[in-house]
């Protein structure tokens, strides 16, 4: 079965969960292992119960594990809450001072050792190091990680941490941990990022130059990354604005003037952007909106996850217009998808919506492919030279494919006239019947070519008689569930949708023909993708496996539910 270990660090917000997690994951990554981590925390700043679950494996993983092999309990509450999740043979590592005893409890004087090393602040290093020790890992790798992190600080900081590492490591020398394994020297499998970061990097690789936002979990992190990368000499402006309405309109303004622009938000903020979405559509201004989903309705659960805005995204804003909707499932897909979203939004002059979610944005992944930067960004506007007569330039010229040559304002003699009202080819308001029909047809005509841009769902054992269908961030969990089901001898496979709208109906219909079971695995209550498939292809799903508790999918739990 190879290496597959889940380690959970639990405690109060602010206790150092992140630090322990970071040390451990960096060590494992350095060792050429795959790591994956989820973050679970309440919508508050201090206190409450949080945890980070780190999964380590020797093959790619993009989903959490349903049981724990090692629980690092930073407080009593973490122990009480999570001990029942321990696998047979699993251990709880906990400070001796807390005074918990039991079969599977491994006590360690973490704080005492930290003090010995030079201060309580090194307790996290002690814990991480003990954990590495239990796993049979080499102390040297941890020391390297500490060097990377603290090398540039005062020497005393480094020394204390090295000492803490050594103490923690020694303290577990005699302990036995069933999942300890022999560590090999290998190259890192790839870079380690959270989902939000991959979205930000994808935007930058698309030459996105303007982003306006109003803070909202779990979207803010994307902007935070854009801001910090932007500092590194990129031509990108990120502006925090007064509300989401300003955000979407400001992005539209910047895009109109010629720079690739985006905004990111979550449900409630997306609501406030829907009018702007329609403005982008009728003015045919490129626009990328990232909706990082969380459970609703309304404020719902700000730090939990969901996949329940798909239908809303498809139908948001009054009347009808083409739009792209994407839902990447891994960080490599997210990086690529952002580029596709920007490219196609500009090519077709329609808005692109990218759906991610709390789980995706806040989880730590290893990218299995490097993040390539294109040599050149393909842009889709015309200059005076390309317009036969700039003086009579028509922004909304009716063309066979519905795409009108787009000039930029202040980029030559052509004047660019744009309105959110229905308009004639020159961009002036018009209410004439023939003009309305021509413009509505022109906009909708794009859908044919847009649909051809849609990648079919990725098939994994797609020939199987039973298919699990999902979209977005559940990809890793569903694929792993398929692996397990197949081990159980079932003829199962899955289809994962990234490119969702315009819906590639024909392709999907072909892929679903004559399946015995079509099981929708979605993070919502009504199988939203399933309903789209039904409406678009006439093919009805047979089962659903829906989750709406605000937590991510776990492969084994999918399997268990499936077997029922």
């Amino acid at each position: 079965m190879g290496i597959d270990i889940s380690i959970q660090i639990g405690g109060e917000a602010g206790q150092g969960i992140q630090t322990v997690g970071q040390l451990l994951s960096l060590v494992c990554q350095k060792a050429g292992l795959y790591v994956f981590a989820i973050n679970d925390y309440e919508s508050r700043v201090r206190g409450g119960e949080s945890f980070l679950q780190l999964r380590i494996a020797d093959r790619p993983i993009d989903a959490p594990y349903h049981r724990l092999h090692l629980l690092i309990a930073l407080d009593r509450k973490a122990y009480d809450l999570h001990k029942s999740e321990l696998d047979d043979g699993g251990l709880v590592m906990i400070d001796t001072e807390i005074g918990v005893e039991g079969d599977s409890v491994f006590t360690l004087p973490i704080n005492a050792l930290a003090k010995q090393a030079g201060g309580l602040i090194t307790a996290n290093t002690v814990a991480a190091s003990a954990c590495i020790g239990l796993l049979g890992g080499p102390l040297t790798l941890l020391n390297e990680v500490l060097e990377d992190l603290f090398g540039k600080k005062e020497k005393s900081v480094m020394d204390k941490n090295l000492m803490a590492a050594s103490l923690g490591f020694k303290a577990v020398q005699l302990a036995k941990f069933q999942w300890a394994f022999s560590w090999q020297e290998k190259e890192p499998k790839g870079i380690m990022l959270d989902g939000a970061q991959s979205i930000a990097l994808g935007a930058l690789a698309s030459d996105c130059r303007f982003a306006a936002f109003y803070p909202m979990s779990p979207a803010t992190a994307i902007m935070s990354y854009l801001v910090s990368y932007g500092q590194k000499g990129l031509p990108v402006v990120v502006e925090q604005v007064e509300d989401e309405i300003a955000a979407v309109n400001m992005a539209i303004g910047a895009s109109f003037a010629g720079v690739r622009s985006m905004t990111a938000t979550s449900g409630g903020g997306f609501c406030l952007m829907t009018e702007g979405l329609g403005l982008a559509a009728i003015s045919e201004t490129p626009l990328v909106i990232v909706n990082a989903q969380r459970p609703g309705p309304a404020t719902g659960m700000a730090t939990r996850t969901a996949q329940a805005d798909l239908l809303f995204a498809i139908y948001a804003s009054q009347d009808e217009f083409p739009r792209f909707i994407f839902a990447p499932g891994t960080i490599n897909e997210a990086y690529d998808t952002m580029q596709k979203a920007f490219l196609l939004s500009e090519k077709y002059q329609v808005p692109s919506i990218v759906l991610v979610d709390h789980f995706f944005n806040t989880s730590l992944y290893i990218a299995d492919k490097p993040f390539q930067v294109p040599d050149r960004i393909e842009r889709f506007y015309v200059t005076d030279q390309e317009i036969s007569n700039p003086a009579s330039y028509l922004r909304f010229q009716v063309t066979p494919d519905g795409i009108s040559p787009r000039a930029l304002p202040c980029n030559g003699d052509a004047l660019v006239l744009v309105t959110g009202n229905e308009h004639s080819e020159d961009g002036h308001n018009s209410e004439a019947i023939d003009v309305r029909i021509a413009m509505a047809d022109k906009r909708m005509k794009k859908i044919a070519a847009m649909t051809k841009e849609m990648k079919p769902p990725e098939s994994y054992y797609g020939d199987a008689e039973m298919l699990l269908l999902g979209w977005g961030s559940s990809k890793g969990a569903i694929r792993e569930a398929v692996d397990i089901l197949r081990k159980y001898g079932m003829d199962a496979g899955c289809l994962h949708f990234v490119d969702i709208w315009p819906f590639p109906a024909q392709i999907v219909a072909d892929m679903l023909k004559k399946k015995k079971r079509i099981v929708m695995v979605e993070g919502n209550m009504t199988a939203q993708l399933g309903r789209i498939i039904k409406e678009q292809t006439g093919i009805a799903y047979t089962h659903t496996l829906l989750k709406y508790d605000g937590r991510p999918f776990y492969p084994q739990k999918i399997v268990d539910q499936f077997m029922q």
Partner: protein, 288 residues
């Protein structure tokens, strides 16, 4: 000076005969021609309303967006290309009602944009409901007992938010209004020009004669524009006397001037930083 006819639009004007908007339109054309800013360098952004139709009637680049949302669009366009001279045509409902929040925060942000509010103290396009600036007691179909809310005082509110250029014009004084628009465009920062604009169809209180009786021009020679306290006093004048002119002006960095990335070329004109991007991606590899 550019030939003013270059700004003439061939699109049919849809305002009511006698509307104050005509004077504003004329002043805009005059100001642009005087400053010799050619149509292709000008972007007029507007919201929805009678005022919002303005950019259709003047030949420049146009973004006629959503009701209340002209300022964010204008700010975005200005950030993307600060070579553009950006004017915003808004109504009192558009700017102080639906768009009130953007008005507040645009002042704080201070982008180098000129805002013209066609303040007819009524919702014109939707046929005569009270607006945020309607006088107390004004009776409309939707406010049959008269307006009760304290009128929004754009000048005073702007001053209280730290606006750097606050002026009032009158659509009946085209020459002066053109001057104000010119000075607004030349001001580095957000320039607000609230314009008294009679609506002959729905506002029977604030008519041409009503204004004519009250308006007076601030004396450029004696009025100290940088005196905030005095400006606030002037801002409260209304029922008896209405001052026209630049009520207040000050300097602080415009929004674009605070952004490093805009120090050189306009954002839209800059090169894609492929190498820099590659470095970032590679550093991510190294950092890990």
């Amino acid at each position: 000076m550019i030939d003013i006819s270059r700004y003439d639009s061939t699109f049919e004007n849809k305002w009511c005969p006698g509307c104050g908007n005509f004077g504003i339109l004329q002043a805009m054309k005059h100001a642009l021609s005087s400053l010799t800013i050619p149509p292709e360098k000008v972007l007029i952004v507007s919201g929805i309303g009678q005022a919002g139709k303005t950019p259709h009637f003047i030949r420049c680049n146009m973004f006629h967006g959503l009701h209340g949302r002209a300022l964010p669009v204008a700010t975005g366009a200005k950030v993307a290309n600060h070579d553009l001279t950006v004017l915003v045509s808004s109504g009192d409902g558009d700017c102080y009602g639906e768009g009130g929040n953007h008005f507040i925060h645009a002042i704080r942000r201070n982008p180098n944009i000129t805002l013209l509010v066609h303040n007819n103290q009524v919702y014109g396009l939707t046929k005569g409901q009270a607006s945020p600036t309607s006088s107390i007691g004004m009776i409309t179909k939707l406010q049959p007992h008269g307006v009760h809310q304290t009128p929004f005082n754009p000048i005073l509110v702007a001053l209280s938010l730290g606006a750097t250029f606050v002026a009032r014009g009158f659509s009946g004084k085209i020459q002066q209004l053109s001057q104000l628009i010119q000075q607004g465009i030349q001001h580095r920062g957000f320039s607000i020009i609230d314009i008294c604009q009679p609506c002959v169809s729905f506002n029977s209180i604030n008519t041409y004669p009503w204004y004519q009786k009250r308006i007076y021009e601030l004396d450029e020679a004696t009025h100290n524009r940088s005196d905030l306290k005095h400006a606030m006093e002037l801002a409260t004048e209304w029922e008896e006397r209405i001052p026209l002119g630049i009520i207040y002006q000050s300097q602080r960095p415009a929004f674009e001037d605070t952004i490093d990335a805009l120090k050189t070329l306009p954002l839209v004109k800059q090169e894609t930083q492929v190498d820099q991007l590659r470095t970032i991606m590679n550093n991510e590899h190294k950092r890990n």
